[in-house]
C-alpha cells in the first residue's frame, strides 16, 4: 500500500504539472466540449426558428369533405403532387384512394416536412373521428359505436419528453467519451512516455511490487479521467442552465440531481475509470513510441465506443458489480506484462476480453440503475421536473 500511494501521488503530481494533460483532460472537457454543445444548440435553435417561420407546403388530392377538413393548413394545388414532393417543392401530400383511405406522403429528412406531417396527422385524426361518428349515426347506432379506421397511437409526452429522452441517451455516451479521451494522453504518458525517457526502468528496479506500480499508475490516470468527467459534467450543467434561461425557462438546480440513479451512475463511472485506463494501458503496452501509443489508444477507443453504445441500450438484466471484473482482470494482465511474463499475443487477447467485459459490465450497470434504456434514463427527466417544480 505504501508503494501504491507513493506511485499514485507521484503520477498525480506529474500529471497535473503537464500542460498537455491539463489541456486534454481538464481544459477541453471544461471549456471546449460545453462550448461545442452550446454552439450546436444555437445552430439548432436558429434552424428551428427558420423552419418555424416557413409555413409547410401541403397538397391535398381528395374528395371535397376531406379537402374541407384539411383546410386548416394552407393547401396547394395537387397537380403533379408526387413529383413535387419528390423534388422537395412540397412538404406533404394527402391522397384519397378509391376506397376512401387516405395516404400521407412526407419526407422524414426535412424538418419542414416533419412539421407538415404533424399538422396533417392531427387533422386526419379529426377527420377519421368525424367520419366514424357520421357512419354510426347513419346506421342508427350511437356515435361512438363504430370506429371504421385504425386509431393511431401518438406520443403524448410532447417535445419536452422527447428532448429529455434524447439527452438521457446522449449524456452517458458523452461522459464515457470524455472519460476515454481524457485518459488517452495520461495513459500513454505514464507507460510509453516513461519507457521512451527511461524512467519506467528506474521505477521497475526499485524494491516495489509490480502490482503497486501498475495500480498506482492506473489509479492516477483514472483519477485524472474522473476529474475530466466531473469538470465536463459541471460545465455541461452550466451550459444547459444557460440554454434553458435562453429558452425562457427557469434556471436548473443541482440540488435535484442527487437521485439514487445518478449516484449509482457516478459509482459506475468510478468503477469504469480504472477499467478503461487498464485496457487502454494494455493496448498501448507494446508501443515503442509516444505516437504509436496514441494511435493504438485511439483505435481501441473507437472500437470500445462502438461496442459500448449498443450495449447501453441492449442490456436487460441487472448486475453492475460485473463491472469490477475487467478491473481485476486487466490489473492482473498488466502485472504479468510488467513482469515480462506475458507476450504480445496474450496481452492482446486479455485486452480484447477485458474490453468485452467492460462493455458488458457497463451495460449491466446501466440497466440496474435505470428501468429505462439508459444510465440517466430516469435521473435526468426527474431532475428537470424537480427543478421546474421548485422554480416555476
Amino acid at each position: 500500500m505504501r508503494a501504491f500511494l507513493a506511485v499514485l501521488g507521484k503520477e498525480l503530481t506529474e500529471s497535473f504539472r503537464d500542460g498537455s494533460v491539463l489541456l486534454y483532460s481538464i481544459a477541453f472537457p471544461l471549456v471546449l466540449y460545453p462550448l461545442l454543445l452550446w454552439g450546436a444548440v444555437q445552430l439548432l435553435v436558429l434552424q428551428a426558428g427558420v423552419v418555424e417561420q416557413q409555413p409547410p407546403r401541403l397538397a391535398v388530392d381528395a374528395s371535397l369533405d376531406v379537402m374541407e377538413a384539411l383546410l386548416a393548413p394552407p393547401a396547394l394545388p395537387s397537380e403533379g403532387g408526387r413529383e413535387a414532393l419528390l423534388a422537395g417543392d412540397l412538404d406533404a401530400l394527402v391522397e384519397e384512394g378509391a376506397d376512401g383511405a387516405l395516404t400521407l406522403g412526407w419526407r422524414s429528412t426535412r424538418a419542414r416536412s416533419e412539421r407538415a406531417r404533424e399538422l396533417v396527422e392531427e387533422r386526419v385524426e379529426v377527420l377519421r373521428a368525424e367520419r366514424g361518428e357520421a357512419l354510426a349515426v347513419g346506421a342508427g347506432l350511437p356515435p361512438d359505436a363504430l370506429c371504421p379506421w385504425d386509431v393511431r397511437s401518438t406520443d403524448t409526452a410532447g417535445s419536452e419528453r422527447v428532448a429529455l429522452e434524447a439527452l438521457s441517451r446522449v449524456i452517458p455516451l458523452m461522459a464515457l467519451t470524455t472519460l476515454m479521451i481524457s485518459i488517452i494522453y495520461p495513459m500513454v504518458e505514464v507507460l510509453v512516455g516513461e519507457r521512451e525517457r527511461g524512467t519506467l526502468e528506474t521505477t521497475l528496479v526499485a524494491a516495489v511490487p509490480r502490482w503497486a506500480v501498475a495500480a498506482g499508475k492506473l489509479g492516477a490516470v483514472a483519477v485524472t479521467g474522473l476529474f475530466a468527467v466531473a469538470g465536463n459534467g459541471l460545465a455541461i450543467w452550466a451550459t444547459l442552465a444557460s440554454l434553458t434561461a435562453q429558452a425562457g425557462g427557469s434556471a436548473l438546480s443541482l440540488a435535484g440531481l442527487w437521485s439514487p440513479a445518478l449516484l449509482g451512475a457516478i459509482g459506475a463511472l468510478i468503477l469504469l475509470a480504472p477499467a478503461t485506463a487498464a485496457w487502454i494501458g494494455l493496448a498501448i503496452l507494446p508501443a515503442q513510441s509516444f505516437k504509436a501509443g496514441q494511435n493504438r489508444a485511439t483505435l481501441v477507443i473507437t472500437l470500445a465506443l462502438g461496442l459500448a453504445a449498443p450495449c447501453l441500450s441492449a442490456s436487460t438484466e441487472p448486475g453492475w458489480a460485473w463491472a469490477a471484473v475487467p478491473v481485476a482482470g486487466t490489473a492482473m494482465a498488466l502485472r504479468g506484462a510488467l513482469n515480462g511474463v506475458l507476450a504480445g499475443g496474450p496481452i492482446a487477447v486479455a485486452a480484447l476480453v477485458n474490453l468485452l467485459l467492460a462493455a458488458v459490465g457497463l451495460s449491466l450497470g446501466a440497466r440496474v440503475l435505470s428501468r429505462e434504456d439508459y444510465l440517466f434514463g430516469q435521473a435526468l427527466p426527474r431532475w428537470l421536473s424537480w427543478t421546474r417544480a421548485r422554480h416555476p
Binding site: 508503494a3 507513493a6 507521484k10 503530481t13 524512467t199 526502468e201 528496479v205 516495489v208
Partner: protein, 244 residues
C-alpha cells in the same frame, strides 16, 4: 556479493540471437568489477538480468544472497541501478525525485534521508528546481542520489558516463571510488578504456555475449604481454570467440 554462473539470454525473432552466452563472474564487497566490451557485446543485457529487468534463460545470478529469479524483490532491495538511459521525472523537483524513491524503497524517514543526500551531493541550490530544467551535471547528481537513497550494498552502473562532459564524468568517477572505499560492491560496465583502467579491480572483456578474458589489469597484461588495456582489448576481440 555478486555470483554469476552460466548466465544466458536469447532473444527470439526473425533472426534469433544469443545476447549473453554462459557468462560467469564473481565480485566481492569493496571491489569494482568492470564489464568491458564494444557496443552490442551483451553488457547491458547482462546488467539488466542482474537488475531483474530481464529474466535469464539459463544460469544463476545471486546478489547479496538473493537469486534473481527466485527472489527478485530481494535483489531489487539490494541494488542501486544507474544507466546512461536512466531518466529523471522532468516535472518533479530534485527534492521530490529523491523523496519519491525514498518512499518507494521503504526508507524509514524519507524526508530526513532526502535532506541528507541533498547535503552530501551538493544538491541544495537546485533542490526545488524541476529536473527538466537542470543541467546534465545537476541531473547526474540527482540520479546518483536516487540510486543510493536506500543505501544498497551493490551498485550496478551501466555506462553511466555516456554523454557526460569531462568534468561531470570525473566527479562521477570520484563518487564510484568513494562507494568502493565505503565497502560497496560495484559492477561497472563501460567501453571507455581509461575508466576501466582507473576504477576496476577486475575486468571481464565481453564480446558477442561471451567473456573472452577476465582478471585484474596486471593479470591481463601478464597473460597477453601487452601494456595498455586498449591493446589487450583489441587483441581479445580480434581473436574473439566463436561466431554465434
Amino acid at each position: 556479493m555478486i555470483d554469476v554462473e552460466g548466465l544466458t539470454k536469447r532473444f527470439f525473432g526473425p533472426e534469433p540471437v544469443t545476447a549473453v552466452d554462459g557468462v560467469s563472474f564473481h565480485c566481492a564487497p569493496g571491489r569494482i568489477f568492470g564489464l568491458l566490451g564494444p557496443n552490442g557485446a551483451g553488457k547491458t543485457t547482462t546488467l539488466r538480468m542482474l537488475a531483474t529487468l530481464l529474466s535469464p534463460d539459463e544460469g544463476t545470478a545471486r546478489l547479496n544472497g538473493h537469486e534473481v529469479r527466485e527472489d527478485p524483490a530481494g535483489v531489487r532491495g539490494s541494488i542501486g541501478y544507474l544507466s546512461a538511459s536512466t531518466g529523471l521525472y522532468g516535472r518533479l523537483t530534485a527534492w521530490e525525485m529523491i523523496a519519491y524513491f525514498a518512499r518507494l524503497q521503504g526508507v524509514a524517514d524519507p524526508e530526513a534521508r532526502t535532506a541528507e543526500l541533498v547535503e552530501r551531493f551538493g544538491i541544495g541550490p537546485f533542490a526545488r528546481v524541476r529536473c527538466e530544467r537542470l543541467s546534465t551535471g545537476m541531473r547526474q547528481k540527482v540520479s546518483i542520489a536516487r540510486a543510493v537513497v536506500h543505501q544498497p550494498p551493490i551498485l550496478i552502473l551501466d555506462e553511466p558516463t555516456s554523454g557526460l562532459d569531462v568534468l561531470v564524468a570525473r566527479t562521477f568517477l570520484d563518487f564510484v571510488e568513494r562507494a568502493r572505499d565505503e565497502g560497496h560492491c560495484v559492477l561497472y560496465s563501460t567501453h571507455i578504456m581509461s575508466e576501466a583502467e582507473r576504477l576496476c579491480d577486475r575486468i571481464a572483456i565481453l564480446h558477442r555475449g561471451r567473456i573472452l578474458a577476465e582478471g585484474s589489469l596486471s593479470e591481463l597484461r601478464e597473460a597477453t604481454g601487452l601494456r595498455y588495456l586498449e591493446d589487450i582489448f583489441v587483441r581479445c576481440v580480434e581473436r574473439g570467440g566463436p561466431e554465434r
